[in-house]
Amino acid sequence: MAAVRALRSCSRTAGRLICVHHIRSCSSVRFIKSKYMSIFDKSAFKFSHQHRLFRTSAISNGQIVQFKLSDIGEGITEVTVKEWYVKEGDSVSQFDSICEVQSDKASVTITSRYDGIIRKLHYNLDEIAYVGKPLVDIETDALKDVASEEDVVETPAVSHEEHTHQEIKGHKTLATPAVRRLAMENNIKLSEVVGTGKDNRILKEDILNYLAKQTGAILPPSPKPEIIPPLPKSETAPAAPKDKGTKIPIPISKPIVFAGKDKTEAVTGFHKAMVKTMTAALKIPHFGYCDEIDLTQLVQLREELKPLAQVRGVKLSFMPFFIKAASLGLLHYPILNASVDENCQNITYKASHNIGVAMDTEQGLIVPNVKNVQVCSVFEIASELNRLLTLGSAGQLGTNDLTGGTFTLSNIGTIGGTYAKPVILPPEVAIGALGKIQVLPRFNGNGEVFKAQIMNVSWSADHRIIDGATMARFSNLWKSYLENPAFMLLDLK
């Protein structure tokens, strides 16, 4: 019984198809616009291809149809092919873009008239194509009465909306594209389903109810081979919570199946260089050292100094203080500002403190550095940092700004996080990652709880030449400068 019904609905589908083609050749009103038509066609084709129910003459493979370049208007006879969107072997649906041609300042997108597989492209890029001559050969299952001579002059009666109207013999049914697909895949005529939505709109539940009422329904077995484009938002609910009573028809999951594909691309350009850098970096034996800094006083100081810097046209963040304090520390522990050669045979103690600041840009992670911090004031560091940030976000940093660094600070805290495990950037030997500033309760000297501005720092250093004690002492010194900015004044150069 179900088979008969399937047969019947299929021939009705066929009838509809024939009707469609007839309508098309009469250049009158189409009832469904854009890709839903193609899905309609395609599922019917597939079904018919498998069951061969309505074709009298057996056509084993599809036939090759020559898709001719249709009239472009304004009496244009030739165009230049500028870009192909398909290649031989690709499968296309009706209305998919095939290529882009150009004629006298007009760019025209040529879309396919048929479903099928591209078998031949008649032109190469930049060749002249002629109107009326074949553009591509498409292998289709199309019925023979597709008139290939005339222009496809479509006159859509409805505008492209979320709810497409299906006009079959004057009967209008409202349904979302996903619901229509569901109906198509189950060979359900929308006119037979009772809609319970607004304006008698047919909802998914209505289709499910309709299906549930069928006994022993034969459901189309084959999954769609082509990629289903991402569904509109209304249809992204997962298949899991589908407890609609007794039967859970299998195809229900089809429209909701995630049809994404893994995408593999080569690692190129900047990322390739990063791979090399990081591979070299991890050859360095890292050790970590972390600590907590109380920035309460620094926060206050910065609040006072911010407007003064603003007057001079410079935005003052915390980084200039961190950078200057680091440089003062490096004066006492110059091994942290050194570099070792390839086989770790020589250490070079760098004279300049070129402190790098990790920056997150469109390219990815870049590390411009502030040169010669040891002779710069906090204000000068701030203005240099401003310059680097502006250039960095515009993608205009030069090689000079990006090379020559000797020590790096990474303020990951602006994005988030507390402790980190930074990776040393060769040829440097140490790096510090700064977490975010949090307001936390701490005890003061009198045993009272007060609000403290706490930031965590995580250092990594090259254990071949730097030991824990050195790192710890450096960190303590840096910490003392920041916790008591007045100390920095004493040692400022």
Binding site: D104, G269, F270
Partner: protein, 373 residues
Amino acid sequence: MVIPSSLKNCFQLFYVLKISASGFKYTANRGLILQSVSSDVYQNLAVEDWIHDNMNLENRQVLFLWRNSPTVVIGRHQNPWQECNLKIMRKKNIKLARRRSGGGTVYHDLGNINFTFFTSKKKYERMENLKLVVRALKGLRPQLDVRATARYDLLLDGNFKISGTAAKLGRTVAYHHCTLLCSADRFILSSVLKSPYKGIKSNATPSMPALVKNLFEEDPTLTCEMVMDAVAAEYARCHQIDHHITLINPADEIVFPGINNKTKELQTWEWIYGKTPKFSISTCFNMMYEQSLLEVQVDIHVKHGRIEVCNIDLPEQWLPPAMCNELEKNLIGSKFCPSETTALASALLRICPQNYELHSKWSLLCENVMTLM
């Protein structure tokens, strides 16, 4: 007169855009005049995309008026390196956009008006649109000598180009847009539309340079607002619709569902630069290093905006061949773009032998190679 969008107008526009022609008894059925409140070129181009993809223009025509902040707009199949001075544009923050229609490169700023005429593919007729603009201008100032040419340009005084045209035809919808120079900055225009890059071999559509002039120079009393209004009035008269300009916000996702995705796509590097047809650069330049002049020959092939082939010929042993090879190898696949190259070159320096001389030579070479981008 421009009537500011009230809520009522917004809803009317909303319904006009969404509901089929049969549903609404309103002259908007026959035509619409829209004007963008945004001067962001990507948003405005996205409006064109949106109308092209979503509106039913079977019995309706639309005129879209828009202006942009300083931008260079290249045609769909053009090569930005061939068409404009990317270096000046980067310095002056002038944006680059690639439109979907064909044609040549133009410079937009707020002194330039863009008109887009949307019709069904059947009613696509560029000359009629241009004649409409000419009539509007002559209506404003009868003494203006403006006429359309066979190449769909508008000439002022027979010699000066004040408008260029481009068009896009889709399956059912077509649009024809044109610029109109009212009071644009001609100095910047001529400096950005001149490419400094040498040795480019490409099949991309070339632009035809032309002498330009502003309408404002001919008649200082003309303003952009007056011209836009005049064209809108003429359009309304021709299509027998209300002379009512509807202001639209191209960021409004409710009136234009999906438009923000279109805007984003138009801003991607893959669209702006990646859609450049395959081309090659073959050139040589001189570098000065420690009082000696070195000649460097560079041969780069770019496809989809990325380097496919890269050959750098340096004087013998100036740089260790291994390092030069490393640079060439790593450039392949990378974007043909100075910031990417800088980042790449700097990252590679970290794993090279730490030698001041090598580093300065490397930096010098990279800086020079980047001038080609």
